[in-house]
């Protein structure tokens, strides 16, 4: 670029990190497919009260365990509840649980990772070893422990998922922090007298936020899977509230009578996990070489 002023055309995104993400997006078709699919699921979940054909809790004992039909597109469960309606309502719960828990993990893990990477030394060692301990628990064991200690509820389910995801986010935030803190512009920040807190929050965080967002999209899928697994073994949200994991469990008990009971929620989970993974993988592939090397 020349010294002569060049007024760049077009509107500017407010954040450089978002520009990077947008560029990565356009470079990668699979991330578009993933995003569109996921947004479709989110839209269906949001519209559940309007579009679901039945109340998800309405029982119709006479019509129990039916296969797909014109009246019940995806069939009915052992209480005669409409599976499509329960799927739509269950999507709301699954998405809320996974989003909230991953959001908590991003914030807590991100703070831990940036602190550890920035401070370094013994603090870094102790904190990251604690994270390794956390990481060594499989998510189901962690879920069992949390629920055994605090009881089965939606809140505790979110705590359990967040706990398993904190350590990975601490790691994903720490690595780029270590790279970025050695850059000249951080030295320049110190020369301007900025406090460590300001340097971390204003100068390091925007540099690593794209990588954290990519990781978050991948972990959202994992969170949905964990939620389903914990609900499946009965540690999730209590019946009769519809969740995808809970529906699979109910379907599992009646699998010989009606396969559709567990097949449709399984397909729903598959669809969401698959779309989020496509989204995250596509973003990661596109973003890695660009961000790692800096500008």
């Amino acid at each position: 670029m020349s010294d002569v002023s060049v007024v760049s055309g077009g509107p500017r995104a407010s954040s450089y990190a978002l520009q990077q993400l947008a560029r990565a997006f356009n470079a990668n078709a699979t991330s578009w497919i993933g995003l569109v699919t996921f947004l479709l699921v989110v839209a269906l979940a949001l519209l559940a009260p309007l579009i679901s054909p039945y109340d998800p809790l309405d029982q119709d004992i006479l019509a129990r365990l039916q296969g797909p039909s014109a009246a019940h597109w995806f069939g009915t469960d052992s209480y005669g509840r409409d599976i499509l309606s329960r799927l739509l309502w269950g999507a709301r719960l699954s998405l809320v649980i996974s989003t909230v828990s991953i959001l908590a993990a991003v914030v807590i893990g991100g703070i831990i990772g940036i602190l550890a990477g920035y401070i370094g030394g013994r603090f870094d060692m102790v904190v990251m070893q604690a994270m390794d301990v956390l990481l060594s628990f499989p998510s189901l064991i962690m879920g069992l422990m949390v629920v055994a200690m605090l009881g089965a509820s939606m809140g505790n389910l979110m705590i359990a998922i967040a706990l398993t995801a904190i350590a990975p986010f601490a790691r994903i935030a720490r690595a780029p922090t270590i790279l970025v803190k050695e850059r000249d512009y951080i030295e320049a920040c110190r020369a301007l007298g900025y406090s460590d807190l300001r340097i971390m929050a204003i100068h390091i965080l925007p540099n690593i936020v794209a990588e954290i967002l990519v990781m978050a999209s991948l972990w959202l899928a994992t969170a949905i899977r964990i939620e389903a697994s914990l609900s499946f073994i009965g540690l999730g949200v209590r019946p009769p509230t519809a969740t995808w994991g809970g529906m699979i469990r109910e379907g599992f008990e009646n699998i010989l009578d009606s396969a559709s009971l567990s097949v449709f929620p399984s397909l729903a989970i598959l669809l969401v996990v698959f779309s989020l993974n496509m989204l995250g993988d596509g973003l990661r592939d596109a973003i890695d070489p660009k961000l790692r090397g800096g500008e």
């Binding site: 002023s5 450089y16 512009y185 320049a188 920040c189 020369a191 007298g193 540099n207």
Partner: protein, 361 residues
């Protein structure tokens, strides 16, 4: 290599110029210097031991004065600057001795919190690498305004307005349109201007410029130097200009300190130093500048290299490379003494400036 000093007769004019400069400097001695570094020792940990990267460095900087520190890579120029800023990387380095007097206080004794209030506000620093010294994810307008709002009690809008003024002062073309651009949309010279704007945002009393033009094209270098000189005059600040480029020194400095292997070997007003470089190192350094007005076959080079930080010789640190070496040079450390006929020209050399001899060798 010809021995001894510079020609004595034909530089009378230059010398009287030197004297004029000197008396000007003396005139300012009535007020206290803005910065006084005394016996600064900064050590670094290498290979298990602590070794001095800067040893026994003393100098003063007067108000409105530009002191240039010259020397080859690794001679301790930048470490001296970082020591003044209190930015010696903790853990691997530390200021092990000496005092740095600024604004009536000893910066070495200040804690991090107090030092932070001085950095960027009363003492600023600009760095060598404009390409990497700006945060790539923040707009330049934000970065300049941030320096203001951090040290001054300024609202967002006021800081942005002042930042725009600063960008105009450092001559960023169409500053208003480019206020929200990111650093990668700027050239190296423009980025260095932005760095200067950030460093000068709070109107510091002292600016440390660590090779600010080294990474730039020659033409851009000249522009940035002119800008620095202009702003220095406008803001009435003192400047320490670190460089290995003697051509730059001649154009910007009032006084020059030559450093070698962590020590100041010679310090003198700029005209005096260029007219009669007295330390053999300074002399050789000056002789290695390419000149267009002299018809020479080649450039002279200084044979050998700077001794490693962990293996400093006893006696004069330049002795191994020195054409004038005497037995005493490798036995005892020379001290920085004023020349008998030029009290503000200090030299650290047994041969050329032996203390107490009352004459130059």
């Amino acid at each position: 290599m010809s021995s001894a000093g510079p020609p004595a007769l034909d530089n009378e004019g230059t010398r009287s110029l030197g004297r004029a400069a000197r008396s000007a400097v003396r005139g300012e001695h009535t007020t206290a210097p803005i910065l006084a570094v005394e016996n600064l020792v900064t050590t670094f940990r290498t290979g298990g031991g602590w070794h001095a990267a800067v040893r026994d460095v003393s100098f003063v900087v007067q108000h409105n004065e530009t002191l240039a520190i010259v020397g080859e890579s690794g001679c301790g120029k930048s470490v001296t600057a970082l020591s003044i800023m209190g930015l010696v990387p903790p853990g691997n380095g530390r200021v092990a001795g000496g005092q740095i007097h600024f604004g009536g206080r000893d910066l070495v004794a200040l804690d991090e919190e107090e030092m932070r209030k001085i950095r960027g506000d009363r003492i600023s620093m600009i760095f060598q690498e404009p390409m990497t010294s700006l945060n790539p994810v923040l707009t330049i307008g934000f970065q300049v305004a941030e320096a203001l709002s951090y040290h001054r009690d300024m609202g967002r809008r006021e800081a942005a307005a002042t930042a725009l003024e600063l960008l105009e002062q450092v001559k960023i073309p169409s500053a208003r349109q480019r206020f929200d651009d990111y650093p990668h949309q700027f050239s190296g010279g423009m980025r260095q201007r932005v760095m200067i704007a950030m460093a000068l945002a709070c109107r510091p009393e002292l600016l440390l410029a660590d090779e600010p033009t080294t990474a730039l094209d020659v033409t851009i270098q000249a522009e940035v130097l002119a800008l620095l000189a202009e702003l220095k005059a406008a803001y009435g600040m003192a400047m320490i200009f670190i460089t290995h480029n003697l051509g730059v020194v001649a154009s910007i400095a009032d006084r020059v300190a030559a450093m070698y292997a962590g020590e100041i070997v010679e310090i003198a007003p700029v005209n005096e130093l260029f007219a009669r470089p007295t330390h053999p190192y300074t002399e050789l350094l000056l002789r290695s500048i390419p000149r267009v007005d002299r018809d020479t076959a080649g450039l002279s080079v200084i044979a050998g290299q700077v001794p490693a930080i962990g293996a400093m010789p006893t006696g004069c640190r330049f002795a191994q490379r020195c054409p004038l070496r005497q037995p005493i040079c490798t036995e005892r450390d020379p001290i920085l003494v004023p020349l008998p006929d030029a009290p503000d020209h200090h030299v650290r050399c047994w041969v050329r400036a032996a203390p107490g001899e009352g004459r130059r060798a």
